[in-house]
């Protein structure tokens, strides 16, 4: 056995491990079944249906690329797509900056009471997106919200947080960043703590100030974590739905309908499963493109 295996070549540990096939198979069996049922199967039929006019029940016909060409002529889809991209472009950097800043403060020795503050930063993350939406709706209500009340008290005019589409998106961006900070912060804290202290000692002996240390030591050292944070937040932002539903229900009107809401409404309220599947695949392609671009960027950075 050993002799034959060595002829096949490969490193010694690999040879030793290769004789076990049954055990790992048993161990991953459940996940393989789940993967096939809830991942491969929907992906395949989704792809097939995206070329049909299927409505969820009864017969359907293949319509070739009609769904896709219609999609690119559909202004509602374009609006949803651009709104989704705008939301992502706003919320991901805001979340990144806030969570990195807070992580640094929490880890820093100078800030007092960091362990209590850390719990405060954590609380938003424990609230579900639906309730986060409710909470910010309560805070930014046009006639009854605390924010407008304070603004009026200070002599300003009530701001149309709900009926102005852009301000409404702004509130969701704030809510999204507020909610997502804790998780990114957690990742950053772990990464910052892993940077060897000797780097900072050497730098401070050479006279580098705290800002210089942050730029030249912390940032490069935590680059892989930054990459993960941006990737995860981008994917999450692209598929955001519950926050919008409870904060402004994609409104005013349909101006803040994002892609997932668009897919949900075409697929389930209007029963155009084929068309919704095509929209899903466009979203999927965008997500994959984002991931691949970031992977390449990350690799470039590491090689430099």
């Amino acid at each position: 056995m050993t002799k034959r295996a060595s002829d096949v070549s490969g490193s010694p540990p690999r040879r030793r491990r290769n004789k076990y096939t049954l055990a790992p198979l048993v161990l991953i069996a459940a996940n393989v079944v789940l993967f096939a049922l809830f991942f491969v199967w929907p992906a395949v039929i989704g792809l097939v249906y995206s070329f049909t006019n299927y409505t969820g029940v009864g017969a359907f016909q293949f319509v070739g690329l009609d769904n896709y060409t219609n999609l690119f002529g559909d202004s509602t889809f374009y609006d949803a797509l651009t709104r989704t991209l705008l939301y992502t472009v706003l919320v991901v950097p805001l979340n990144f900056v806030l969570s990195l800043l807070i992580a640094n403060l929490v880890v820093s020795k100078q800030a007092k009471g960091a362990s209590i503050a850390r719990v405060v930063f954590f609380i938003p993350w424990l609230i579900s997106p639906i309730v986060v939406g409710v909470l910010w709706r309560w805070l930014f209500g046009e006639n009854f919200g605390l924010i407008n009340y304070v603004i009026e008290k200070l002599g300003g005019h009530a701001i149309a947080w709900q009926s102005n589409a852009d301000l409404s998106l702004g509130v969701v961006v704030m809510a999204g960043a507020w909610w997502g900070t804790a998780f990114s912060m957690l990742l950053f804290i772990a990464a910052i703590k892993n940077v060897p202290t000797s780097y900072y000692e050497a730098a401070s002996l050479d006279g580098a100030g705290p800002w210089r240390q942050f730029i030249s030591i912390t940032l490069p050292s935590i680059a892989p974590t930054s990459f993960i944070v941006i990737l995860l937040n981008t994917i999450n932002a692209m598929k955001e739905y519950p926050l919008f539903v409870s904060l402004n229900n994609g409104g005013p009107g349909t101006s803040n309908n994002l892609l997932v809401q668009y897919i949900y409404e075409t697929g389930f309220n209007r029963g155009q499963i084929g068309y919704a599947s095509a929209a899903s695949f466009v979203l999927m392609l965008i997500l994959m493109a984002v991931a691949i671009i970031q992977l390449i960027a990350n690799r470039r950075m590491e090689n430099r």
């Binding site: 290769n18 055990a23 993967f35 809830f38 007092k112 579900s128 772990a190 000692e201 942050f214 389930f268």
Partner: protein, 300 residues
């Protein structure tokens, strides 16, 4: 220059090394740096804490006082009427039980399945295991929100529509869980497995008797995460469940928000009630979340 300091705890030796340079600046330099950092930290903490505080305090106001001007931070005559109304009116107790059942079952299944998969991926070396690892990676790119329509059809065709099974089963496989366990088992020395093999232990009993017990911290961390994900799930239960008796808490709250005239008193009460379980779980298991190196799990 004299005030330079490392922004993190330094060990005793380095403090000694630095103390010479620092002696000129002395304590005041440290204080001068501590004040802005502490101020900034607490301003930010206030920004993060105030929305929640305002929300929770409002929920104790009687319905009539919610909009009465001037708005007061502390409720004048605190009451639990909003909570009581929410609990009674919207069938909330039923929603709570439903959500708890779904969360607990899904979490147990997720932890078990992820542990098995993570171990197999870490300690066995096969071409098809590697291929499966890439498949799991792919699931992060294709969350179920993206494939709503086809996934709905699959679950319907499996006969799981309008049942808890339809919410639980699609949620069991999570890439994060598999990564966390894989990453953890990679740090367990192979010698441990080898020694057990030499002693004649079977593969699966090595896993069950040695590996499962030592992975308990990861199990807890993943359990908390999984519980949170499932507690917060909204869109998938909304699609799957048709029977109001099977609704989850999040759907219940959204149905209050979606009403023509929002009953804020009930909505605030219901929302705060829905926050309690996760906050409790978090307070009890705080250190497993705070100290967890989730980073390691997500890196690959």
């Amino acid at each position: 220059m004299t005030t330079t300091d490392t922004p993190r705890p330094v060990d005793a030796g380095s403090v000694k090394a630095l103390s010479k340079k620092r002696s000129r600046g002395g304590r005041e330099g440290g204080l001068r740096r501590a004040v802005p950092a502490t101020t900034l930290l607490w301003i930010l903490a206030a920004l993060y804490g105030l929305p929640v505080a305002w929300f929770v305090l409002s929920s104790f106001k009687p319905a009539g006082d919610l909009f009465s001007l001037p708005l007061t931070v502390i409720p004048h005559n605190p009451t639990l009427s909003g909570y009581k109304a929410a609990w009674d009116s919207a069938n909330f107790s039923q929603y709570f039980i439903n959500t708890a059942i779904v969360c607990v079952i899904t979490t147990i299944l997720t932890v078990g399945v992820s542990c098995c998969t993570g171990y197999a991926l870490a300690k066995y070396d096969n071409k098809w295991l590697k291929a499966f690892f890439i498949c799991i990676l792919a699931t992060t790119m294709l969350p179920s929100e993206v494939m709503l329509a086809p996934e709905f059809l699959v679950v319907r065709d499996l006969g799981l529509y309008n049942s808890f099974g339809g919410i639980i089963l699609p949620a069991v496989l999570t890439a994060t869980g598999c990564f966390m366990f894989r990453q953890f088992f990679l740090t367990v020395p192979d010698e441990l497995v080898e020694a057990a093999r030499i002693d004649g232990a079977r593969e699966l009993s090595i896993f069950l008797r040695i590996m499962v017990p030592i992975s308990r911290p990861i199990m807890l961390t993943l359990a908390i995460l999984s519980f949170q994900w499932r507690w917060n799930d909204y869109i998938w239960p909304l699609l799957m469940l048709n029977d109001p008796n099977k609704f989850t808490v999040q759907i219940g709250i959204q149905s209050l928000v979606g009403a023509q005239n929002i009953n804020w008193s009930v909505l605030l009460g219901g929302s705060v009630i829905s926050m309690i379980p996760l906050i409790l779980v978090f307070l009890v298991f705080q250190r497993y979340v705070m100290s967890a190196d989730i980073n390691a799990g997500l890196k690959d």
